[in-house]
Structure formats: structure tokens, C-alpha cells
Symmetry: C2
Subunit: 155 residues, 2 copies
DNA sequence: CGACGTGTACTAGATACCTAATACAGTAAG
DNA sequence: CTTACTGTATTAGGTATCTAGTACACGTCG
């Protein structure tokens, strides 16, 4: 299109600074409408459920994890606070935060309730994009194994 | 620890005005982090995919659907606009809005992409609540049939 | 013609979330 | 004690969403 312009390429406005991009613990999806603090909360619960974080193990400090995920420390602090209130984490003031000795697994009631709620959301979107039940199930199986494999790789 | 207070029971503070509660078309979940206009957009797509809304059928007016769902007309208008831009709906100005004659179904690429994305979110929450793959799949099958049945009942 | 319903556009306010920066209290190591 | 790190609290600003109210252009019907 441009004729014989000999100007050196535009100096790259760098819309994306895109520095290290570590993803040590788990990933944060900025496009997900769910709040970041909820994604962090769920991520920690996921790692505990998968055994990547065992009872008594120490979790990264608020500032470290914030730097790792490239979010604000306040956001991580909010997730840690909720996990502490829920009995998932235990904080030794001035020392650090650890996985609770007896990591509470959600009661079967609320566990099924949360799962059912998520299933309805997933089924709804599956139907809205014209997917059948079999395709939806296949995709879940694939995604489940992928998430497990991804966490095992980092454990 | 009030002693022998004989005051009649509190007159039911009625924290939820809870008026008609119609739910003619589909339901809106205020606790869902997804924006309401996206829930509406997905709901219309869902009804078309299930045949509850056939090509050429008229959809409720912006104000009617807004009153039905108890949301602001602007929110419904935003959803209708996106559906019109996407070729799902067609608007006859001053007359009304109708389902497009050739309702576009998402390309297989973006359809699979959206489905895969939703599947990852669902699998993640399933793992985080300590659910196994089988339970997660069972819940999806149950939810899928429930959504279909619910829409058939209103069609 | 006028009245009504349609989609659309605009302003303004309220709320939730994320970010930034700073400060404080407690613990461990030098 | 001093230093460094921990979680926690506070204030401020920016962005996105939802709400409310109003106004306009278009088409149908009486």
C-alpha cells in the first residue's frame, strides 16, 4: 500500500508492555467477568483440591503473589481474607499465611449447590451457541483433564 | 436477653418487596457477575437455538421485556442492538424487532472457542469445590435437560 | 391529521471493582 | 535495637455497569 516510504518502522508504541509474564501459581483471565479476587480465591481452592498445596504449606505473600499475577496487592489481600474467614487458610500475623491444617472442604450441600449453579450457566451457554449435549460433555471432560494436567505440571 | 417482653412479633420487615415476579421469557440472575445485557443476549440466542423463537417471529418490545425482567429499558436495548449487529435479530424501525429470517449460527470455530472457554471455567469451579469428573459431567447432563425442558414448557 | 408504540440517543447519578500510594502492627533475623 | 518482611487498613482516582429520566425519528392505526 505505502509506496516507497523509507521511514524506519514506527518506534513501536508498545501498547502491551508485556514484561516477564510469569504465571507461577495459576492464571488470571482479565476478560472473565468474574472479579479478580474471586478468581484468586478459586485458584487457591483448586490447588488445594488437587494436592498442589497441602495442609500446613505456606502460600506466597500478598505482595509476592500480587507481583506474580501482576495485580494490586489489595486484590490478593481480599482473596486471602475471604479464604481465611472460610477456614481454608490460616494466617500467622507478621509471619505469613499457610494452608489450614484441616482444610475444610465445602459441605456436600453447598458444594452441590455451587456445582449445580455452575452447570446451569455452562449448559445455558452451550445451548446458546448451538451445541448439543454430547459436545458439551466432551468439552467438559477435555477441559477437566487439561486443568488437572496443567496443575500437576507445576506441582 | 429481654425478660418477659410481651411485644407482638415484629410485623415482618419484608426485606424483599417481591412484586409480580413474572419471568415470561427467561430468568435474570443478579448475582451472576456477567452483565445483565449479556445474560439477555444469551437468553435470546438460547431460545432461538431451542426453537422457542423461530425465524420471523417478533420479540417483545424493549420496554415490555424490560418491564417483564424488571430491568432498565436501556439494558434491553443494548442486548437487542448487539443481537441486531450480529444478524440474530432484525429491526423494522418504528414497527418492532423480529428474529432474522436466516438466524446466523456461530461459525464452528468461534462456537467451539466459546464452548471451550466456558468448559474451562466450569471445570475449574468443579475442581475447586472438590468435585470429581463424573459428578461434574452428571451435573451438566442434568442441567442441560433441565434448561431444555424449562424452555419447552414455555414455548 | 393526531395519538400511540417502536427503536434509539443522551445526560446524570449510584454502585462495584481495580488500581495506586501510604501507613500501621506484629514477627524474624541481623 | 535496627532492618526487613508479614498481613491489614485507609484514602483517592479511574473505569464499567445499571439505573432513571428525557427526548427524538419513524411507522401504524383511528
Amino acid at each position: 500500500m505505502g509506496a516507497s516510504v523509507s521511514v524506519s518502522d514506527s518506534p513501536l508504541p508498545l501498547p502491551t508492555p508485556d514484561p516477564p509474564l510469569p504465571t507461577h501459581m495459576f492464571a488470571i483471565n482479565p476478560t472473565d467477568p468474574a472479579p479478580i479476587w474471586r478468581q484468586i480465591e478459586e485458584g487457591v481452592r483448586r490447588m488445594i483440591a488437587l494436592g498442589a498445596l497441602q495442609p500446613g504449606a505456606s502460600v506466597p505473600s500478598v505482595r509476592d503473589l500480587a507481583k506474580d499475577l501482576r495485580v494490586n496487592p489489595n486484590t490478593v489481600a481480599r482473596a486471602y481474607q475471604r479464604l481465611t474467614e472460610g477456614g481454608v487458610l490460616a494466617v500467622k500475623r507478621g509471619e505469613g499465611t499457610y494452608v489450614a491444617d484441616v482444610p475444610v472442604q465445602p459441605r456436600k450441600n453447598e458444594r452441590n449447590e455451587a456445582l449445580r449453579d455452575a452447570a446451569i450457566r455452562y449448559a445455558s451457554t452451550a445451548i446458546s451457541v448451538g451445541s448439543g449435549l454430547e459436545d458439551a460433555v466432551d468439552e467438559v471432560e477435555s477441559a477437566y483433564e487439561r486443568v488437572v494436567r496443567e496443575h500437576r505440571r507445576k506441582a
